[in-house]
């Protein structure tokens, strides 16, 4: 083994990281080479010196002061952030719910007005007659009323008639709920018989 190879393996020998065969060859070289032997001994002394210089570290008083500081910067700070985030999320959720309700209400009003305007021009006359003569009650079923199981709002007679002409069977979901006709519309056969009679 050459000095160059031996010096490259010295650290591993000091650290007991060499296999037995290679360690044996290296020790044989060290026995015959004073220079490499000197370097080997210096490496052992250096390692021992460094091991002895390991600091004791601060005592309990230091940790009694430092540990609460660490907890304040971590766990307690995270709790404050969590509470603030939760509060912000709650406010945002409430705001979104209000906006959704207002949009739904606005959409309901638009559709209602549109239904009335359309119905005035498109209802067949015989059906309009029937609606004018019979009492048909039109229920506006609100979502809240469904849940509470009481009451229903009635429109005035002329309003009912116009709504019926609109044949609005399904209103928008939301605050105003659904519009429904309780009486069945006339069958197509009855309507055509009536029309063909002299």
């Amino acid at each position: 083994m050459t000095c160059h190879s031996a010096l490259a393996l010295l650290d591993d020998l000091v650290d007991n990281d060499l296999d037995q065969a290679l360690a044996g060859k290296l020790r044989d070289h060290l026995d015959t080479c004073p220079s490499c032997q000197s370097e080997y001994q210096a490496t052992i002394r250096l390692k021992e010196l460094l091991r002895q210089s390991k600091s004791q570290g601060p005592d309990r008083n230091y940790w009694n002061e430092t540990t609460p500081l660490i907890m304040a910067r971590t766990v307690e700070a995270a709790e404050v952030d969590f509470e603030e985030t939760t509060r912000e999320q709650t406010i945002a959720a409430q705001r979104n719910a209000l906006v959704r309700s207002l949009v739904s209400l606005a959409a309901s009003v638009v559709i209602l007005i549109s239904a009335v305007l359309i119905g005035q021009n498109h209802l067949p006359q015989n059906y309009a007659d029937r609606m004018g003569s019979e009492s048909s009650r039109l229920y506006v079923v609100s979502a809240a009323a469904d849940q509470l199981s009481y009451g229903a709002a009635f429109f005035a007679a002329d309003q009912r008639s116009r709504l019926a002409r609109g044949m609005l069977l399904m209103g928008p979901p939301g605050l105003f709920g659904r519009f429904a006709m309780l009486d069945e519309p006339p069958s197509p056969e009855a309507t055509s018989e009536k029309n063909t009679q002299p």
């Binding site: 490259a8 650290d11 591993d12 650290d15 990281d17 220079s35 000197s38 370097e39 210096a42 490496t43 002394r45 250096l46 390692k47 010196l49 460094l50 091991r51 002895q52 210089s53 390991k54 600091s55 004791q56 570290g57 601060p58 005592d59 008083n61 230091y62 940790w63 430092t66 540990t67 500081l69 660490i70 907890m71 910067r73 971590t74 766990v75 995270a78």
Partner: protein, 192 residues
């Protein structure tokens, strides 16, 4: 006694006491590494606090970490290296041991039998710290972890996420430089 993996598992799930227990178990080791890297108590204190703060913030990553020891040492050494780079590689070595907590000075006094031994012990610590300060950060931390803290080359490779050959190389270069700097103490004959 609760094992480290159990503590880590509870910590990840939000158990504050598990985090406090992990601090108690690792604070000495992190302080020791930090003090050797930075050379003074104030900087070591900063490294210790910042290490645990970063461990807390990165706790979600712990679910994919095999060894907490490697994880926390990596955080500590990376922060210490960053701090050293801000100071252009040199630590602020405090020769005045009054920067150490007063009780540590008392500990040093209690451990040695005579004032002469105490003086020698302090001189040794200063000499080693000055010698380590002359090494680049990576070589310095490799020597500290291996020869002072007792980490194996495999563990150091895991800390730095590098091959063991790189650790061996850094350690060899560090030891060669330290032997040259401390040759008086080691009574080393220079190779011709």
């Amino acid at each position: 006694m609760t094992t480290i993996p159990e503590l880590v598992d509870r910590f990840v799930k939000g158990d504050q006491r598990a985090f406090a227990e992990l601090i108690a178990r690792y604070r000495e080791k992190i302080y020791s590494i930090a003090f050797r890297m930075m050379g003074n108590h104030l900087d070591a204190d900063e490294v210790v606090q910042e290490t645990f703060v970063r461990v807390f913030r990165k706790r979600k990553e712990l679910t994919s970490v095999s060894y907490f020891s490697t994880f926390i040492v990596r955080i500590a050494t990376n922060f210490a290296i960053d701090l050293l780079r801000k100071r252009k590689g040199h630590s602020s070595i405090s020769n005045d041991t009054s920067t150490l907590p007063g009780s540590t000075q008392l500990d040093l006094a209690r451990q040695v039998a005579t004032p002469q031994q105490m003086y020698e012990s302090k001189r040794l610590m200063e000499e080693i710290t000055k010698a380590l300060d002359q090494l680049p950060p990576k070589q310095r931390i490799t020597a500290i972890l291996h020869d002072i803290e007792g980490y194996t080359k495999e563990e150091i490779a895991a800390v730095f996420d590098c091959p063991q050959a790189t650790v061996r190389s850094n350690l060899h270069i560090a030891r060669t430089k330290l032997k040259k700097i401390l040759r008086q103490r080691l009574r080393v004959k220079e190779r011709k």
